[in-house]
Amino acid sequence: MSPDLSSALRRWGPVFGVCLLAAASGIQVASHAQDTRHSFLRLTAVQQERDTLLAEYSRLLLERATLSSYRHVGEMAEERLSMRFPEQVTPVVQR
């Protein structure tokens, strides 16, 4: 290595290194900002999906509650299936 190159490296090496670190840091900041935006978009999408599922769940829950209500089941049992509450309690002995 020539003495000139060696002296230039000694003089400009630290400056070059700092510039390199600054550039890397800048790239990192941009990369993190991009990651944050990406994560935020994903969070928003997941929240929307959650809300949609919650809405669907509550709707299904209400439908189930309506269809399985005792009033509804009782009416179906009496009107469609001609079922009646037993009028006699009959002892049954299992052997």
């Binding site: 919650l54 809405a55 509550s58 189930r64 005792y70 009033r71 006699q88 309690v89 009959t90 002995v93």
Partner: protein, 573 residues
């Protein structure tokens, strides 16, 4: 030409330089101010709505559910809706165009006006598709109550802003409601959020609540109570069912009731939860505790004779009467026949505070502690115990008042064999702390005596349940008017528990002012007890007792009087 060209170039250069200088000046000296002003116009912190927790019964059946809806609003001061779009908007919202026009004219200078609240997502999508400038959407939640009036008094209701107004919805409002989150958004010039910028606080969703109610038992209790109130043309009614093992409220219903899904019903008198707010004189339903005080004294036993002849007794200036001269009765018969004279003589023979102490240990004079709004205590005082008439009236249930829930709690102490338990409307996973307040042998004796109440010789044969022995007591009290006791207005009560050998449920039925003929607890309230207990024991899987198994279950209109029928057992091999 040349100088004009130069002058023009110079002018442009000077203008560009002036602009650059102004930009540099603003960017350097007023950067923060301008940034704030820009954000104030375009950046907003908006809440992230949270849905209210679901209320379930003890088996996970939903009793109150929130579903997302949209409230459609506008900012007339900033972005007025073009009048040409009024008809489209009105059609999509199913409102008269004139109504929208009037509303917007009235709020022309304001920054906020609702067009319609709580529209379903499909309608909201229809409005959104119109793409009308100035129309904005706010996501909210609407509460639905699948069991409607059946569970209305315990579950309660919320208002249009999703805030609890009655029942558990009010008591546990903060727990159910949660806390909205916050985010920063960028808005366009029409005020619409176009971009989420930052997530400031995560939403804290409302927590779910599991009640102690069993929707199956609640449904039958409500149905039978409603039928009885209508059949007897009564003013109102209440029924409470407790789980003996835990003290949980399995069913609590009132008549009249209301539909919490219907905004019109919300101001009706039916909103009041009479089972915890209304007090009644318990009448003869207190007599088992008076008899218990007699047993505790050690001077009385179930077969101790009490002379009730000649069918009346004078206490001070008051005459206390039985319907007829029943002569010499045992203590058990005094209870089975609900003899006023017999109980009076026993009460006057006991120490002054004996009956009062028993009632206090059973929980009278204390708030039941469910936390339901309006829960009250009633009147229970030792003020008149120094007077014989005060002790006598206390012994047969006058001079004190209780709520149906308090009476149920008192009978719970009998059903547990003398152990007092707290009552709760929340589903308990652990057994609650309990105190023994009565001797188990005394309670067993009282229970056996009370079984006779539902026999053919007792006051309430219509309380019998086919296949099961039940324990209970009737009560019929006159109501108080401005001039004293009113002989034309009564309260019919029945309180009891079943099955007798290993109690599972306590049921109290109160029918206020029956007006269709019979007014007694044995004729009006006992049949409701019988039908509700029959259904409940079947649902809870309680096997009929071998020696009480055969019987006839009467349909609701005629039920109650069924004597055990001699049905030969069917043998399955």
């Amino acid at each position: 030409m040349r100088w004009r060209h130069r002058a023009l170039v110079g002018l442009f250069v000077a203008a560009a330089a002036a602009l650059l200088a102004r930009v540099a000046h603003l960017a350097v000296t007023e950067s923060d101010f301008l940034k704030k002003q820009g954000e104030a116009r375009a950046v907003r912190v908006v809440p992230i709505p949270v849905h209210r927790g679901i209320i379930y019964d003890r088996h996970g059946e939903p009793l109150a559910v929130s579903t997302p809806v949209y409230s459609i609003w506008t900012d007339p001061g900033q972005t007025p809706i073009p009048p040409a779009r009024f008809d489209d908007l009105a059609h999509a919202l199913d409102l008269p165009p004139e109504r929208i026009r009037r509303r917007l004219e009235r709020n022309a200078d304001s920054r906020f006006a609702y067009l319609k609240r709580h529209v379903d997502p499909t309608t909201a999508d229809r409005v959104r598709a119109l793409d009308i400038a100035g129309v904005r959407f706010r996501r909210e939640y609407r509460r639905f109550y699948p069991a409607a009036e059946t569970t209305a008094h315990v579950v309660g209701m919320t208002n249009i802003d999703d805030t609890g107004q009655e029942g558990v919805e009010l008591v546990l409002d903060a727990f159910l409601r949660g806390r909205p989150g916050e985010k920063r958004v960028l808005r366009d010039r029409n005020g619409r959020a176009v971009k989420d910028l930052a997530y400031l606080r995560a939403p804290d969703f409302g927590k779910d609540v599991m009640l102690s109610l069993d929707l199956r038992l609640q449904f039958f209790a409500y149905k039978e109570l409603k039928s009885a109130v209508e059949h007897n043309r009564a003013k109102s009614g209440a029924i409470v069912m407790l789980d003996v093992a835990t003290g949980e409220v399995l069913a609590m219903a009132n008549q009249p009731s209301y539909n919490p899904n219907n905004a019109v019903d919300r101001g009706s008198p039916g909103v009041r939860n009479r089972a915890v707010t209304d007090t009644y004189e318990p009448g003869s339903t207190i007599k088992p505790l008076s008899v218990l005080a007699a047993l505790e004294s050690g001077r009385y036993f179930p077969d101790t004779p009490v002379d009730t002849a000649p069918g009346y007794v004078r206490v001070g200036s008051k005459l206390i009467e039985d319907p007829s001269d029943r002569g010499r009765l045992t203590l058990a018969e005094v209870l089975a026949k609900s003899s006023q004279v017999g109980v009076t003589k026993v009460a006057l023979d006991l120490p002054e505070h004996a009956i009062f102490d028993v009632l206090a240990r059973a929980g009278l004079g204390e708030v039941p502690g469910t936390g339901l709004p309006g829960e009250t205590v009633g009147v229970f005082t030792a003020r008149d115990l120094d007077k014989p008439i005060g002790r006598a009236t206390l012994a047969f249930g006058y001079g004190l008042t209780v709520t149906p829930l308090q009476l149920a709690r008192t009978y719970l102490t009998l059903a547990t064999g003398g152990v007092r338990r707290p009552v709760s409307v929340l589903h308990e996973t652990a057994r609650p702390p309990s105190d023994r307040v009565f001797d188990a042998r005394d309670i067993r004796d009282v229970s056996r005596m009370m079984e006779r109440v539902a026999s053919a010789q007792g006051t309430a044969p219509r309380a019998r349940v086919a296949g099961h022995r039940v324990v209970g007591k009737t009560g019929t009290t006159r109501k108080i008017s401005s001039v004293g006791y009113d002989d034309s207005r009564h309260v019919a009560l029945f309180a009891g528990f079943a099955p007798a050998h290993a109690p599972r449920i306590v049921v109290v039925v109160v029918i206020d002012e029956p007006a269709a003929g019979p007014i007694g607890g044995g004729s009006v309230a006992a049949p409701v007890f019988s039908r509700v207990v029959a259904r409940a024991l079947r649902i809870l899987g309680v096997a009929p007792e071998a020696h009480a198994v055969a019987g006839t279950v009467r349909p609701p209109e005629t039920a109650g009087a069924g004597r055990p029928a001699a049905v030969p057992p069917k043998v399955v091999t």
